[in-house]
């Protein structure tokens, strides 16, 4: 950031500007990112040409009140030299239209770049995207891919505000905004799958995984957690460790869950239902199989 650390004075200026303009959309105070967007950025970075230091692209998503939800992203061509920066706008427009056709709810919310280097060109590109997103503010997400030694991988999000007596496009302050990863519950299993794959030594995993295997994994992890809790509780009881009341309450809420329903005959009736379903399913399958075989035998 060429302008040094953000000071409170600059923040005040940013606020005063938004207050001055009535009906101006509120500045985003929270940004969430969907894994797809992140992974697309990483993929784009992987496919950059040798001469590119960083890659940029457009972020698509939705806005609610103060929150910007980044749902997907696409790569945009650009070139940077020490004299000029160029963004292929035609390309940006075409891609946006293509995405818009498939997913009309997603609009342009800002742009991403890799690396955590914010420079004058960043300000210029930010200026360009502000025109695209207007009247809303464009957000900028900087993804540090962690390939540079000494820098940790991570994601930072910024909004910009103009600075100086005479605002110029190449001068602006990037104000950091909190950012978090968000995904739908249903997508959770996909992420788990990738995380497990990433941990494997060959970075590959074969599909399909049996349901039982996943249940086993979950049960193992639960039992590990119980072991950890048990160790903690024993330590507290033995007086080796000071008990945390908050932890105690959480434990009470979690472990106090009643299984009475299951014990009072609920189990047996449930079991019967499940067995019935299992029987029915197998019956249907064998009927289907017989039927298809009969079709083959009919004429012969």
């Amino acid at each position: 950031m060429p302008l040094g650390p953000t000071s409170s004075a600059i923040n005040i200026q940013a606020n005063s500007i938004t207050e001055a303009v009535h009906n101006a959309p509120r500045t985003p105070t929270n940004i969430t990112i969907h894994p797809v967007a992140l992974f697309s950025i990483l993929d784009h970075y992987l496919r950059r040409t040798d001469s590119q230091d960083r890659v940029i692209g457009t972020l698509l998503g939705t806005r609610h009140d103060n929150e910007v939800e980044v749902r997907s992203s696409f790569a945009v061509l650009h070139s940077e030299t020490d004299e000029q920066v160029a963004v292929d706008m035609d390309y940006h427009r075409t891609m946006y239209e293509l995405h818009h056709k498939v997913n009309p709810k997603e609009v342009i919310v800002g742009w991403y770049s890799t690396g955590s280097n914010l420079n004058t060109y960043s300000a210029l590109i930010q200026n360009f995207y502000s025109q695209e997103t207007g009247p809303h503010q464009a957000i900028h997400v900087a993804v540090n891919t962690g390939v540079v030694e000494g820098e940790e991988a991570g994601v930072k999000a910024y909004i910009s505000s103009p600075v100086g007596v005479f605002p110029k496009p190449e001068n602006c302050v990037f104000v950091p905004v909190p950012v978090e990863l968000r995904f739908h519950d249903a997508e959770r299993s996909g992420l788990d799958l990738l995380a497990n794959t990433a941990q494997a030594s060959s970075s590959t995993s074969s599909q399909p995984i049996a349901d039982l295997e996943i249940i086993e994994r979950a049960v193992t992890s639960v039992s590990e957690m119980l072991d950890r809790v048990l160790a903690y509780v024993r330590a507290v009881l033995a007086g080796e460790q000071k008990g945390d009341p908050a932890v105690g309450r959480y434990l009470m809420d979690t472990l106090g869950a009643s299984t009475d329903d299951l014990e009072k005959g609920g189990f047996n009736s449930s079991l019967q239902d499940t067995l019935m379903i299992s029987y029915l399913a197998n019956l249907v399958r064998s009927q289907a199989e017989v039927s298809s075989r009969l079709a083959l035998a009919a004429a012969s």
Partner: protein, 402 residues
């Protein structure tokens, strides 16, 4: 290609004393162009406005394209594609989200490295939607090529619920792909309901050779089914599927999972909203909410099958009736002729019966075959749910006894 930037870019000129970096050029190497040319054209629909390359003579194409000789043994799905498909499948308005898979084949492994969704057309007339979809595909492929992403189509993906993905469109599309694409292309089926239950499920399929043979002749009469030994289970063959994460993604996921550091800078509230991936236990959920829906689907599919069978038997009765009529006619004519010969008259000519009686062609049994396949798939997914919930119930009981 560098001149692209002059096309219509907003170019800002500013002089600063930044360290000089070399002028960047984005150019399509001739090598890549040659490679691309050796790949077969994308499905007819998408090929229309594709960029033109220097043509490789047909005689040479075979020689250059060594990969085509190696049979496909495995499909490798990139992490990016996994998330893209899941996202599209969840957000799509209908349950049949579909899109194209892009990638390369190498040493018998089909590497799927990218994908993009295709727009969903509801109510449009077919030709119009097909055209706009083709345009969409073509411009998407062109755009992806410009940012060095893989741009050769290797198949398509299809989202499904409860495992029943057999339908006419899937078979038709895959048949076209199998004819046009090298290695036939594959279809990746993603099961939404299973994913919601905590087991992200992806399977790769392609049509079997026997089915393709029958499909090419577009003959699904009983005789043809018997000849080809076709049942619903021999329409598609499964190709082993692997999921792969590239090293960069693996490293990044590692950072995200590392909850202490918190991959993304967390908000002010502290560790509770920390974006690191929290463990989830949706797999252990005892709820059997999906079962009723599954049973409904089975009933629906069985009804469809009954209707289809009814149609088939009606048609075969009609055929039998027409045939009987024709035979009657021939027999009558023969009798008459014998009488005439006995009376010394010239026999009447034996006319072409097929012109007099239109015997309808034997009905295609493909539809009923597919519906049977659906019933089987629903049954399979129901059986799967039942067996896992049994395990979970006993586990819960064992837990509550302690």
């Amino acid at each position: 290609m560098p001149c692209r930037f002059l096309r219509s870019c907003i170019v800002y000129y500013y002089k600063f004393d930044f360290p000089a970096t070399s002028l960047q050029k984005i150019m399509a190497t001739s090598m890549a162009a040659a490679l691309a040319a050796s790949l077969p054209a994308a499905p007819a629909a998408s090929a229309a406005p594709a960029p033109t390359y220097e043509a490789i003579p047909a005689s040479m194409a075979k020689v250059i394209d060594i990969e085509a000789e190696i049979p496909l043994t495995c499909v490798q799905l990139d992490g990016l594609v996994v998330t893209k498909i899941i996202k599209h499948a969840r957000e799509a308005p209908s349950t049949t989200a579909h899109g194209l898979l892009l990638g390369l084949d190498l040493d018998g492994t089909l590497e799927v490295s990218n994908s993009f969704p295709l727009p969903h057309h509801a109510g449009d007339d077919d030709e119009k939607s097909a055209k706009s979809s083709a345009r969409h595909q073509a411009s998407m492929l062109r755009s992806l090529k410009e940012v060095q992403a893989d741009d050769s189509v290797v198949g398509f993906y299809q989202a499904t619920t409860l495992g029943a993905f057999f339908n006419q469109t899937l078979v038709d599309t895959q048949a076209i792909h199998q004819e046009k694409l090298r290695h036939g292309g594959i279809v990746i089926v993603h099961d939404l309901s299973q994913t919601a239950r905590g087991n992200a499920s992806f399977r790769a399929y392609r049509l079997t050779a026997t089915f393709m043979d029958a499909y090419r002749k577009s003959n699904f009469s009983t005789a043809s089914l018997i000849n080809h030994r076709l049942t619903f289970s021999s329409i598609l063959e499964e190709v082993p599927l692997k999921i792969r994460t590239n090293p960069l993604l693996s490293a990044f996921l590692g950072t995200l999972e590392d909850s202490k550091k918190g991959g993304l800078s967390s908000s002010a509230e502290g560790s509770k909203t920390n974006s690191a991936i929290n463990p989830s236990f949706s797999v252990l959920d005892l709820g059997t909410g999906g079962v009723a829906r599954n049973l409904e689907q089975i009933v629906e599919a069985v009804d469809n099958y009954r209707t289809e069978e009814g149609n088939l038997s009606y048609m075969s009765r009609q055929i039998a009736r027409e045939k009987a009529k024709a035979e009657n006619y021939i027999a009558k004519r023969k009798e008459e002729n014998q009488n005439r010969i006995a009376q010394g008259l010239a026999p009447l000519p034996e006319e072409d019966v097929s012109r007099l009686f239109k015997i309808p062609a034997e009905p295609s049994r493909l539809e009923s075959l597919l519906v049977l396949g659906q019933i089987d798939a629903y049954g399979k997914s129901l059986a799967g749910t039942a067996s896992t919930s049994l395990v979970k119930m006993y586990a819960a009981q064992a837990g509550s006894d302690v």
